[in-house]
């Protein structure tokens, strides 16, 4: 019995291939579709637009900081800019790009499913996300301006008396909406991964990308509800006179920080794990090897998720209210599973046949940038060092390197890798490489100087600094880097434009992919698969295309390897 036979009844009642041509098109398709591929693409494009908008805000921030006493924007506007820049990048770009975009599009394909478990819920998630994004941006058009209390919204700065107006309320609502969107997507993805796997695809044959999405989903289910609860309390404080965070009524401002970071730290891994998943797909394909230490990688992912729920107070070392050794120890420990991942990736490339296509270049950019940011993260995990640089540009540099390393470099690695899958077209390789080069140089130039700026004592979230701080030149370097990065995205837009106007067909499987998403046409038909290859390992398509090197033939490979060596 082949799977193709098993599936054949499906194409009858669902209309299979033909569905594609009779269905809605254009705007109407975008508005009404419940197809995971349409929703996935919508997520990607929408979040990338949010990224450009938030990036444009970063350009203004950097322009303001080119001199110690610039007056490009007012203090109030500056505070609004970094608040919305940070909030958009995290909630509306980094998260939805991967978890709403890639996961939605790729995960069902990778497990051989026709769609997500709950297609209509999926559409609801997307529309909640879009509504949330528009809500957040609309804060700029209120009379009081957008929220200006940082993406962390510390109480009591976020109280009504300290931050009056509708902008902060819109921000709260926006976060709640995107939060629900994320929770629903998590429910959907986890159910899909548990329930709709093709026959033969056991948990330990799932692609690492899918694994990472499952674990990310679990982290979302753990972290986001706490944020929702905190937002409701904040809203009650602002409008119903509640006393959750006011000292006078028996509330506790520090409780906000605890609740927020209990969400906030898992959140940063919610943003990182999906991109780790992408990297774990790109490296094997462009090295023509299986991922090294599959199980180790899965357990490392689970370990990161587990640890990340117990380290939140490393953002609160300087509050003097937390148990320093405990949170320090757990934070330091996260370096171990993360290191396992990094070494696993290098070991995967070891002995491979590495091809430096654009996705692979972005992966290398990811590895370099992320490890740099990770190592400085380890420094921040030592409370004494954190006392010295907390809330300075040292921290800003740390988190941009990890975030940009994952969401931008990891994200664009995935984007270029799956671009042929999504569109059936090829991007222009030379422009892709140029974009990488500019982004890589630009990012490094932006954020390496910021470590020094922070060490010299420049706090974050300030529009002005002192000449005597000796950070003017470093800030200028950083600004130049930022604009170079900005220009790299223009190159990307040009690339997309050319590929759209002068399409070059990519073929169904241009990279000699390993996993099931490449086993169907590019782009895939409405219900994804006409037939599936037999699934006997974690790389069914590789097995089918390279029967002489098939994974299932080398079961118990470790043992055999030793025998060969003797």
């Amino acid at each position: 019995m082949t799977i193709a036979e098993e599936r054949s009844d499906l194409s009858h009642d669902e209309g299979g291939h033909e569905h594609d041509h009779g269905g809605p098109r254009g705007i109407y398709l975008w508005l009404t579709s419940t197809d995971h591929k349409v929703i996935g693409k919508s997520y990607m494009y929408t979040s990338l637009i949010f990224m450009l908008i938030a990036g444009a805000m970063a350009m203004i921030i950097r322009a303001q900081l080119t001199g110690p006493n610039n007056h490009l924007v007012s203090q109030q506007t500056y505070n609004e800019l970094f608040t919305i820049h940070g909030s958009m990048m995290l909630y509306l770009f980094a998260g939805p790009f991967a978890f709403g975009g890639f996961a939605n599009y790729i995960l069902p394909l990778q497990i051989g499913a026709p769609d997500m478990a709950f297609p209509r819920l999926n559409a609801l998630s997307y529309w909640l996300f879009v509504t949330g994004g528009i809500t957040m941006l609309s804060g700029f058009f209120t009379s009081g301006g957008a929220a200006a209390f940082g993406w962390v919204s510390y109480a009591p700065l976020s109280s009504y008396s300290n931050s009056p107006g509708a902008g902060p309320d819109l921000w709260i609502v926006a976060i709640a909406l995107t939060g629900f969107s994320g929770i629903f997507t998590a429910v959907n993805l986890i159910t899909t991964a548990f329930y709709l796997r093709a026959p033969g695809l056991t948990m330990f044959r799932l692609p690492i990308f899918t694994w990472n999405m499952i674990v990310t989903g679990m982290l979302i289910l753990i972290a986001f509800p706490i944020l929702t609860a905190a937002m409701i309390m904040l809203y009650a404080d602002r409008h119903f006179g509640a006393h959750f965070f006011t000292v006078s009524g028996g509330g506790s401002p520090v409780m906000w920080q605890n609740l927020f970071w209990f969400f906030g730290h898992p959140e940063v891994y919610i943003l990182a794990l999906p991109y780790f998943g992408i990297v774990s797909e790109v490296i094997p394909v462009f090295s023509r090897k299986p991922i090294f230490g599959y199980k180790g990688l899965v357990f490392a992912t689970l370990a990161i998720a587990g640890l990340s729920t117990g380290v939140w107070a490393h953002h609160m070392f300087t509050t003097g209210t937390v148990l320093l050794p405990f949170f320090s120890a757990l934070s330091l420990l996260i370096a171990v599973p993360t290191g396992v991942k990094v070494f696993t990736w290098i070991a995967t490339m070891w002995g491979g046949d590495i091809e430096f296509k654009t996705p692979m270049l972005f992966v290398i950019g990811f590895l370099f940038t992320f490890v740099m940011g990770g190592v400085t993260g380890v420094m921040l995990a030592a409370p004494p060092i954190d006392f010295a640089v907390h809330d300075t540009y040292f921290v800003v540099a740390h988190f941009h390197q990890v975030l940009a390393g994952t969401a931008v470099f990891g994200g664009f690695a995935g984007f270029f890798y799956w671009y042929p899958k999504l569109t059936g077209r090829m991007y222009r390789e030379s422009l892709g490489k140029l974009q990488f080069l500019m982004a890589f140089v630009g990012f490094s130039l932006t954020f390496f100087p910021q470590y020094l700026i922070g060490l010299r004592g420049m706090p974050r979230r300030v529009p002005v600094y002192l000449v005597s701080d000796h950070v003017t030149f470093l800030n200028q370097l950083s600004t130049v880097g930022a604009f170079l990065t900005g220009a790299s995205f223009v190159v990307w837009l040009i690339n997309m434009w050319i590929s759209w106007k002068k399409p070059v067909a990519a073929g169904d499987n241009p990279w000699d992919g390993h996993t099931l998403e490449w086993a169907t046409s590019s782009p895939p038909p409405h219900h994804n698969f006409v037939s599936l290859p037999p699934i006997r390992s974690a790389r069914p398509l590789w097995d089918a295309n390279h029967p002489e090197h098939a994974d299932y033939k080398s079961h118990g490979l470790e043992v055999r390897d030793h025998e060969v060596k003797k």
């Binding site: 510390y154 090295s287 090294f292 320090s328 490890v371 004592g457």
Partner: protein, 247 residues
């Protein structure tokens, strides 16, 4: 013969590399890697911890990047080849090694962290001087135990005066929102929280004037919530204090 030469070359190359690495490590021991040396005993303890972390970081990242670089160069696809490499799935000893070594490094880092942290957070029971510091939007009030009080006024940044080589105990509170009491040259910051009182000690070692600032976003003028710190000799400090009392 030529092969022999080559091997020798390589050995010399390695030795050179090792020497260079040693030189970097040794010279780093005196470098502060961009951080402040720390103008208090507590700050100096931080500086040496930071140094240790930095050296560890350089070594760890260095090895990782060397490995990465080696792999990328050695195993790049050569033009015109189409090779299917050996399909290795795992290697338990290697995996154990790259898990255990980071664990050991982390344990080491943790031990030094705790030691330094205990020194820095220790609060003396009989300090030479006590100051109550209150943060508010957007300024500071420094109150000494004899009642002398210095407070931000308009665009005038207040100055905190401390005696050198004596221990000052600070009691920190906030009047409104969260502020951050931060003296970069002391390598130290602590939040001023509404509803929470924080205590910590400074033992300045060098006289001089330093910048202090608010590190936690506290609203519109957060960026201008500055102060300065002047460390003077104990006798100068006493005369300053009595002078202020009289004024």
């Amino acid at each position: 013969m030529s092969i022999f030469n080559f091997v020798k070359e390589r050995h010399r190359g390695r030795k050179g590399l090792a020497l260079a690495a040693l030189a970097i490590v040794l010279s780093s021991c005196s470098s502060t890697f961009g951080g402040y040396k720390g103008a208090t005993t507590q700050g100096q303890s931080e500086a040496s911890l930071y140094q240790g972390f930095m050296i560890t970081g350089i070594v760890v990242a260095g090895i990782t990047f060397l490995g990465l670089f080696y792999v990328l160069v050695r195993f790049r696809r050569r033009k015109g080849t189409n090779r299917i490499p050996a399909q290795r799935h795992s290697n338990l000893p290697v995996e154990v090694i790259y898990t255990v070594i980071p664990v050991l490094i982390v344990i080491g880092l943790f031990v030094f962290t705790v030691r330094s942290e205990n020194k820095i957070t220790q609060v003396s029971s009989n300090p030479n001087v006590s100051v109550d510091i209150t943060a508010f939007q957007w300024g500071w009030r420094f109150t000494y135990s004899n009642g002398v009080s210095i407070v931000s006024q308009g665009a005038n940044y207040p100055q905190l005066v401390l005696p050198a080589n004596e221990t000052t105990k600070v009691t920190l509170v906030s009047q409104d929102v969260v502020h951050g009491f931060y003296i970069p040259a002391f390598n130290f910051s602590r939040y001023a929280l509404p509803g929470v009182t924080n205590y910590f000690d400074f033992t300045p070692t060098n006289t001089g004037t330093y910048v202090g600032r608010c590190s936690a976003l506290c609203g519109l003028y957060h960026g201008e919530m500055l102060f300065s710190v002047r460390v003077v000799t104990p006798t100068q400090f006493q005369s300053w204090l009595t002078q202020q009392k009289a004024a």
